[in-house]
Symmetry: C2
Subunit: 214 residues, 2 copies
Amino acid sequence: MTYRLHNFFRSSTSTRVRVALNLKGLDYDYIPYVLRNGETWTPDYLGRNPQGLVPTLELENGTSLTQSLAIIEWLDETHPEPPLLPADAMGRVRVRALACMIACEIHPLNNLRVLLRLGDQFGADETAQKAWFTHWVTTTFDALEETLQNPETGRFCHGDTPGLADVCLYAQVWNNRRFDIELNTWPVISRIFAELDALPAFSNAAPPKQPDAT
Amino acid sequence: MTYRLHNFFRSSTSTRVRVALNLKGLDYDYIPYVLRNGETWTPDYLGRNPQGLVPTLELENGTSLTQSLAIIEWLDETHPEPPLLPADAMGRVRVRALACMIACEIHPLNNLRVLLRLGDQFGADETAQKAWFTHWVTTTFDALEETLQNPETGRFCHGDTPGLADVCLYAQVWNNRRFDIELNTWPVISRIFAELDALPAFSNAAPPKQPDAT
């Protein structure tokens, strides 16, 4: 089975799926798209993903899976080792909630199409876009830092095994660099990011390491 | 076991959890918060939910669960009947992706704190907020409508059993009414909403039926 990952090096949701594939030890072909050039708005791509968003994970039989969290849950169900979620329900709800803090409260507000819309509708320039982006990162990272100050946090977001929350955290910290947001004010997040970045499954999925990185 | 649901009648994420609790046949105490009055920013509430967001599901032992999608997955794991996700992995990834289209691409852009931020940062008035809100609903509902034109769609989003995607769809359609968005242009979504609204588990969770509705 060879997967084809339709994605973009700087896309945070693409980074998440690259990490998950690496953690599961799965090979994939890297199919890059330049979002700013509208390369995901072709009839062919829209047939795979009607939202025109990345990533899309294409299976060997041609089936396309969309939405990074759904893809990662699918990978975890179909390739159970190593697990990306704890075995116990209380651990699972904690990890999913941490992941959703990032996936539902930061990234949706800060991706390229939203920044472009701010420009179109409100004339937001780079400075205004940075203020917007930083506001949402700070609002949620402040709460995430507090939530992680918990005995269930270990070397990683939950215990000593990297999982779904770590995947989202790692991708978001890379995304923050788009606007030079430093991690100094969030020591737990900063420490976990450093731990993750020392693991090849994570660092090999980082934006600068991808073939389409500019 | 009696749950305590900290929530707000008009909150779309609160509606999702109310529907899920109803589908599982679980009783809960309804604890209302007026978001515009900052009632979720008290030290007590922030101790339960450092994001100051609703909903929070409080368990009998005092544990607080946050983030609606994580809470619903937890309810489904701990109260398996009736299931809110299909039994097969391909069905599960489809349902989770449909849910994420709404939960990660519409609602995060359109909730109260985002509309307030548009006002603060860009001076967006009610008309500009409506244009913003409608843009994101339309963008994703167009893609959702196309995705639902699929043989796997049945009476509901996936087959003939209501599940996680339906929970998100139902809550979003109610949320759309905040800005009078009609469903006419999305016939499949419109049909599914009508099917859901005929089920007491859904209709009893609708915003106007809640004790704090104004």
